[in-house]
């Protein structure tokens, strides 16, 4: 590889990524609570989904399971999932709640249109165990 090839590669990368953006590729959302439950079960071994709450923009969800809670966040056109142990670390956000995952690069997950009390209701059966 010489400098021309390296420069050409960088230009090609930027052009392709720009075209993907221009074509509006990658748009998706967590469509429903049933969708969130399915994704949680598919992503986490042994997870049995029960109740779920989904942010109004479809970008995040919480799913209560057998002893743990799955936190889902839209990651590009797909969904990334983490298993958390209740009680969750939750704080109020401007238009919803933010759940801390404890991972800097995964980041905190904000559910729009969801209240802290909704999260408490979801995790109550698990924290009482």
């Amino acid at each position: 590889m010489n400098w021309v090839q390296l420069g050409g590669s960088v230009v090609a990368i930027l052009v392709l990524a720009g075209i993907a953006r221009m074509l509006r590729l990658g748009e998706s959302r967590i469509a429903s609570a049933a969708d969130a439950r399915r994704i949680a079960e598919e992503s986490l071994a042994g997870f049995e989904a029960r109740h779920a709450i989904v942010g109004t923009d479809g970008c995040a969800a919480l799913v209560a399971g057998n002893g743990t809670i799955a936190v889902l966040k839209r990651h590009g056109a797909q969904v990334a999932v983490r298993r958390l142990t209740p009680p969750l670390r939750v704080r109020e956000a401007v238009e919803g709640v933010t759940v801390e995952t404890g991972e800097r690069l995964f980041g905190a997950v904000t559910l729009l249109g969801v209240l802290p009390v909704d999260v408490q209701t979801l995790e109550a059966p698990l924290t009482l165990m």
């Binding site: 590889m1 590669s9 075209i19 590729l25 748009e27 071994a45 590009g76 797909q78």
Partner: protein, 295 residues
């Protein structure tokens, strides 16, 4: 003998084919591509090429050193290229299987699996740490047999080019005879899938017959669509995290594990832990089978 680098010639075709697949995605299913994911994959690919330039000379010199002790004199006749290509693909199978079953090698290879998308740009998402992980060791037996390192480099390039087109959802299944012998998009989708039934299967590069012969072949099923990525998806498009996260994980485990367990964090399968607190592909499959039996 100086042979051309086939990958350099293929790069423009790679770019055009990615573009064509994007247009198909735009027309059929926009979830197949994601701009940030594509950017990450392509940047990782470029980084991998740069890393290859920086370290490739060392790997080549090591291969040349071993070649001086060769068992046979093998020339540059066309049929030796064919034999080298087939044997190199078998060496690739062994490397690839190790790359999924030994955490040290997985730490380097995981980059290629770290996208949750499966498209032609994923093919270019390649490791930056291949030399560091000693992956070149798997080709050395071919140099010791007597295949010239330049020939091995050439057929390795052809192998890499072949593997580009199988990273797509645009192609369903190829003709039956082709699926029986060659690695195809269908077989390789299975390899990239995290569905429990598909984990740790279809390691082939070009010829799927290696998997069929060695018991690691799993066919794609229409009732279990592949879900792509890794068991614990990154949830981040950070380039450096994608390139080094498993190495960082190994370093943390080596630091905190008791002495008797440290080696295990290097050589045992990904997900292994000395206290059994993490999931390996075996435990995931076992839980999945248990659930299948219940329902």
């Amino acid at each position: 003998m100086k042979l051309p680098d086939p990958v350099s010639y293929a790069v423009p075709a790679f770019v055009l084919l990615v573009l064509a697949e994007m247009l198909v995605a735009w027309a059929r299913d926009r979830k197949r591509y994601e701009p940030k994911d594509t950017l990450t994959s392509l940047a990782l690919g470029t980084g991998s090429t740069v890393a290859g330039v920086l370290t490739g000379g060392f790997a080549y010199a090591i291969a040349l050193w071993f070649w001086q002790f060769r068992l046979f004199e093998i020339g540059y006749a066309w049929y030796w290229f064919v034999v080298a290509f087939v044997l190199d693909d078998l060496a690739y199978y062994v490397f690839h299987r190790s790359a999924h079953r030994v955490r040290w090698f997985w730490a380097s290879h995981v980059i290629h699996h770290s996208s949750q998308h499966y498209n032609l740009s994923t093919a270019l998402r390649q490791t930056w740490t291949g030399f560091f992980s000693l992956s070149f060791l798997f080709r050395l037996p071919l140099a010791i047999i007597g295949f010239p390192p330049a020939m091995l480099l050439f057929v390795g390039g052809i192998n890499l080019i072949y593997q580009f087109w199988i990273h797509t959802e645009v192609i369903g299944r190829m003709p039956r005879w082709f699926e029986a012998v060659m690695n195809t998009p269908s077989h390789h989708r299975v390899h990239h899938a995290t569905n429990p039934r598909y984990l740790d299967s279809n390691y082939a590069g070009v010829f799927i017959v290696w998997d069929r012969m060695l018991g690691t072949f799993v066919p794609e099923r229409d009732d279990d669509r592949p879900r792509y990525g890794i068991v614990r998806n990154l949830g981040s498009f950070n380039l450096l995290w994608a390139a080094f996260h498993e190495w960082i994980g190994i370093a943390r485990d080596l630091w905190s594990a008791p002495w008797r367990a440290k080696l295990g964090y290097l050589v045992m399968p990904p997900g292994w832990s000395h206290d059994g607190s993490r999931d390996t592909s075996e435990t995931i499959k076992a839980r999945w089978r248990e659930r299948q039996e219940k329902t």
